[in-house]
């Protein structure tokens, strides 16, 4: 690749638009355009070199802003597809066949297609991750490709610029001083620009007033922030960085915490407070019957002694007591417990009365704790109830045997043997909810259902996320970069006093021309400079665009 040697003698890398030393236009395009392209200050962005090796081709591809924008749009569209129907992790079925059936049943054939194309699981899919990854590559490559030449150019820029550079800026002025002695003009300009908080550099009869150069780095800083953020997201996949488990725990139970070795949690109590009001229209809209004011689980967190192993529960040390509420997780050792969900009124104990069917008289009360049923419940010397079988979730008979579908007491059933003074040999009765079967013919006694005691169940999620600090840092860097780039502007004013005393002037800003014009108006008035024109508004057919600026 040949370097381009400018008339002034400076060597510029191939692809440079404006000479790095004097600013003369180097390319045909730059020479013939009325307003020169000031992106990257005319420096050659590295990808615009002629090298055609495969690596360069790939590099150039990712460096292109058009490719970057296309990737942004593709990511945007891909993300939106995942909102057409609820994604898989929001529906409450867990096996693949169940999911397929769910989508078809609820959303019809469109739903079935959605599931089969894999669109019901967009955000964890490999292709979505690849899309994000390509966007990340684009950000990195484009930033390196442009940021480095821009930095070099801004750092090395000179005060004096060639006439062809000056004349091709968007804002220019040329002419005599409008008032007073032209000898003092440059000093006046310097004085005013300094007051406007510009940095002023002089070189002979040339002056450069510059302000807000750091604003040019804004985009590059925010790109760094994005990459840090995405890297943190990637780190979540490294074992040990991220734990996300959920657990259901009933009041009174103690359970090992999944994902948190050596820790146990006990649910002391679950509390639900409601707002106690008439259902309002909004609540109807939201499908809420009772408005929860607060729900929390009072827990005790225990830790096993060091060198303990799973299964040992006798040497636990109480670590913390806490009320886990929404917005107020229990935090310990990098882990956090969140109150996510709850289920009310699961049967905890059932109270029966051993009753004589004819007389209706009770021989005694029996209370069965479903978490710990006993073999027998003794009322007195001659009266007792033996528990022959207990089936928490009675689902029917098989070969004469009662079956239970789950260990959860959704539909408790019992086989009782009632030993009474009248019937010391005992009577067998099968008792389920609204169902009593007496296998040995009509009994004299029955177990009459009296009442239940219930307890609540809490759904907690356990989280450990060591990537949070990095995510926060990435986010902060991003915000800083985007604020710098959006709220500050890089403004430059080049002024040159020619031999005959006339002034040549050019100005440029990367954004907010309205603002720089205010500065220009001020310095033009103060130093009696010739009036400037905005070359982008010069054409005749632009007149139509102009209209009345006060409107």
């Amino acid at each position: 690749m040949e370097k381009i040697i400018c008339v002034c003698g400076h060597e510029n890398p191939a692809g440079t638009k404006l000479c790095g030393k004097c600013g003369r236009p180097l390319t045909e395009e730059a020479k013939t355009s009325k307003i020169v392209d000031m992106k990257y200050d005319g420096a050659a962005i590295r990808s615009k070199t002629r090298n055609k090796s495969i690596i360069d081709k790939i590099w150039n591809f990712f460096s292109s802003v058009r490719v970057g924008i296309t990737l942004i749009i593709i990511n945007l569209i891909a993300a939106s597809i995942g909102t057409i129907f609820p994604q898989e992790f929001y529906i409450s079925v867990s096996t693949e066949p169940e999911k397929a059936a769910y989508y078809e049943k609820t959303y019809g054939s469109l739903g079935k297609l959605y599931y089969e194309l894999g669109l019901s699981n967009v955000y964890s899919s490999w292709w979505f991750q690849v899309l994000v990854g390509l966007l990340a590559i684009s950000i990195i490559v484009a930033s390196i490709d442009r940021g480095i030449p821009l930095h070099k150019s801004l750092k090395n820029q000179r005060v004096k610029r060639h006439e062809s550079f000056m004349k091709r800026q968007r804002i220019i002025a040329e002419g005599a001083v409008t008032e007073g002695d032209s000898a003092n003009t440059m000093n006046l300009v310097e004085e005013k620009m300094k007051k406007l908080r510009y940095k002023v550099r002089r070189d002979g009869n040339a002056l450069l007033a510059e302000r807000g150069r750091f604003a040019r780095y804004g985009p590059y800083i925010n790109h760094v922030g994005l990459i840090v953020f995405l890297t943190a997201v990637m780190l979540r996949l490294v074992p040990g960085f991220y734990v996300d488990e959920s657990m259901w725990i009933r009041e009174g139970e103690m359970r090992a915490v999944p994902g948190m070795e050596g820790y146990f949690i006990e649910n002391e109590k679950f509390i639900l407070e409601t707002h106690d009001n008439q259902q309002t229209e909004n609540q109807e809209l939201q499908g809420v019957n009772v408005v929860a004011k607060n729900y929390q689980t009072d827990v005790k967190l225990y830790k096993q002694a060091d060198n303990s192993i799973p299964g040992q529960a006798d040497n636990l040390e109480l670590v913390k007591e806490y009320s886990v509420r929404v917005n107020h997780p229990l935090q310990h050792d990098g882990y956090a417990f969140y109150q996510m969900d709850f289920r009310l009124n699961e049967i905890k104990a059932m109270n029966f009365e051993l009753t004589n069917k004819e007389t209706g008289a009770s021989l005694g009360a029996v209370s069965i704790d479903l978490a710990n049923p006993q073999d027998e419940y003794v009322i007195n010397d001659q009266t007792k109830v033996e528990l022959m079988g207990y089936y928490p979730d009675f689902s029917g008979f098989e070969n004469g045997e009662p079956q239970t579908a789950t260990p959860t007491p959704n539909n408790p059933a019992f086989i009782f043997k009632m030993v009474t003074p009248d019937k010391p040999e005992g009577e067998i009765s099968f008792v389920a909810i609204q169902q009593t079967i007496e296998p040995n013919g009509d009994n004299t006694h029955k177990m009459a259902f009296n009442s239940v005691e219930t307890r609540n169940m809490s759904g907690l999620t356990v989280h450990k996320d060591s990537t949070i600090p990095m995510l926060a840092i990435g986010g902060a860097i991003f915000m800083i970069g985007v604020v710098i780039g959006s709220y500050w502007h890089h403004r430059r004013l080049w002024v040159e006093q020619l031999e005959d005393g006339t002034i040549r002037l050019a100005a440029h800003t990367n954004k907010n021309w309205f603002g720089i014009k205010k500065d220009l108006d001020a310095v033009t008035a103060f130093a009696h400079l010739p009036t400037y024109i905005d070359q982008s508004e010069d054409d005749q057919d632009e007149k139509e665009k102009e209209g009345d600026s006060t409107l």
Binding site: A79, T106, E281, N282, L285, K293, R325, V482, K511
Partner: protein, 397 residues
């Protein structure tokens, strides 16, 4: 009079003020005589701005009194959030006005705010207590910042619309002309929605139904508009009311669909009436009104609005949202539809900025992008909240 009543009255005052303000802004930029233009702009424009500021103060008063009454920021349901959004749009307009003195913006900004408030008013405005997940000071921080960001971005759409109203030739057939008229038609549809709701509410229309929901359980539904679409396996309980014409599967909320249908009907009728009576398109009527505005300045305002609004939006809708989500639910991002659409909005404006800065997309292209961006914001506000259900939504399953 209780605080909540005062609050409602103040909102009404604001609404009227914005209506009056629109008229004055219209007068300020319309010019038959080119000479008097500047003077007229000055006088009418000043009055218009004063009226707008009065309206804004009343609006702010509504916001503050409601806050005091409820004990937390009034942004927790559809009505509250949308009225707050309207308020922030006016605030953003006032801010941009003082930066650029562009009176013409008021002609579009105020009607947009009016439509948004009108739309919000169709939703129940009861004072409900907060559910636990909303009981956090993050509610205030996240929602208010996000609304502010969105409203500043909205001004870019306002500037864009104004730009297009002038730049598109209503006499020449073009894609731009078609889509611009479509945007204006959409505005009329919003009016149609408001009109339909008000009329049916005015006559006290009510029809009770029972139906079978997605979980195969029986549920109730009350329609406030004549039922065109019926719920799954519906049974009509009220006498002498319209029977649905079509039955919908349980996953579709037929009541909402009916509402949308009536909005279309009313809106389209209004639009047709306008076209028949005036024998012109809406664009054709508005185009001459804006002939005096400076396109370059509009373009710059549009761009600057995005520049100012983008960081605020990022901070409010993404950063604060992630922080709050982490604290409330233990995961800072769950790909919930509302979160995804906030991300989509963010990506879109990022694309806007890149297209502008690197590809030189200015003028008409930039104006259209700004309008599309606002459409995405509205999609998030309306469709995601009401149609697509999720952790975030104000809709039920």
């Amino acid at each position: 009079m209780s605080l909540i009543d005062i609050s409602g009255n103040l909102l009404f005052v604001a609404f009227i003020a914005y209506l009056v303000g629109t008229l004055f802004f219209g007068g300020a930029i319309k010019s038959t005589k080119p000479d008097g233009a500047v003077n007229r702009a000055d006088k009418w424009g000043k009055i218009a701005l004063v009226v707008t500021i009065i309206g804004f103060l009343a609006h702010l008063g509504y916001f503050i009194t409601r806050w005091i009454y409820k004990g937390h920021a009034p942004v927790s349901n559809m009505f509250e959030f949308t009225t707050a959004f309207g308020m922030f749009i006016i605030a953003a307009f006032i801010l941009i006005y003082y930066m650029y003195r562009l009176t013409a913006l008021g002609v579009v900004a105020l009607p947009v705010a009016i439509l948004i408030i009108g739309y919000a008013a169709m939703f129940p405005n009861d004072v409900d207590p907060l559910v636990p997940s909303l009981q956090s000071y993050w509610l205030h921080i996240h929602v208010i910042t996000a609304a502010m960001g969105q409203s500043i971005l909205a001004i870019s759409a306002v500037a864009g619309l104004l730009y297009l109203l002038k730049a598109i030739d209503p006499k020449a057939k073009s894609k731009s002309r078609f889509w611009m008229e479509a945007v204006l038609y959409f505005g009329v549809l919003v009016v149609g929605f408001i009109l339909a709701t008000v009329i049916f509410r005015g006559i006290g229309y009510e029809a009770n139904f029972t139906y079978i929901d997605t979980k195969d359980a029986e549920a109730e539904m009350v329609y406030n508009m004549p039922a065109i679409f019926g719920m799954n396996e519906y049974t009509l309980l009220t006498d002498d009311v319209m029977e649905p014409l079509v039955e919908m599967p349980p996953v579709i909320n037929a009541k909402k669909l009916t509402t949308v249908f009536w909005a279309f009907v009313f809106g389209s009728i209004i639009y047709l009436v306008i076209r028949l009576i005036t024998r012109r398109s809406i664009l054709d009527m508005l185009h001459p009104l804006v002939q005096k505005v400076n396109l370059n300045l509009l373009d710059e305002v549009g761009y600057r609005s995005v520049l100012i609004g983008f960081p605020v939006f990022t901070l409010g809708a993404l950063v604060f949202a992630m922080i709050w989500a982490q604290e409330a639910w233990g995961r800072f991002w769950g790909w919930d539809p509302k979160e995804v659409w906030a991300l989509i909005t963010w990506l879109f404006y990022a694309a806007y900025l890149h297209l502008r800065l690197s590809k030189g997309w200015e003028g008409k292209k930039s104006a259209w992008l700004a309008v599309i961006g606002f459409a995405i914001i509205l999609f998030n506000l309306i469709v995601v909240n009401l149609v697509i259900a999720g952790l975030h939504s104000y809709a039920s399953n």
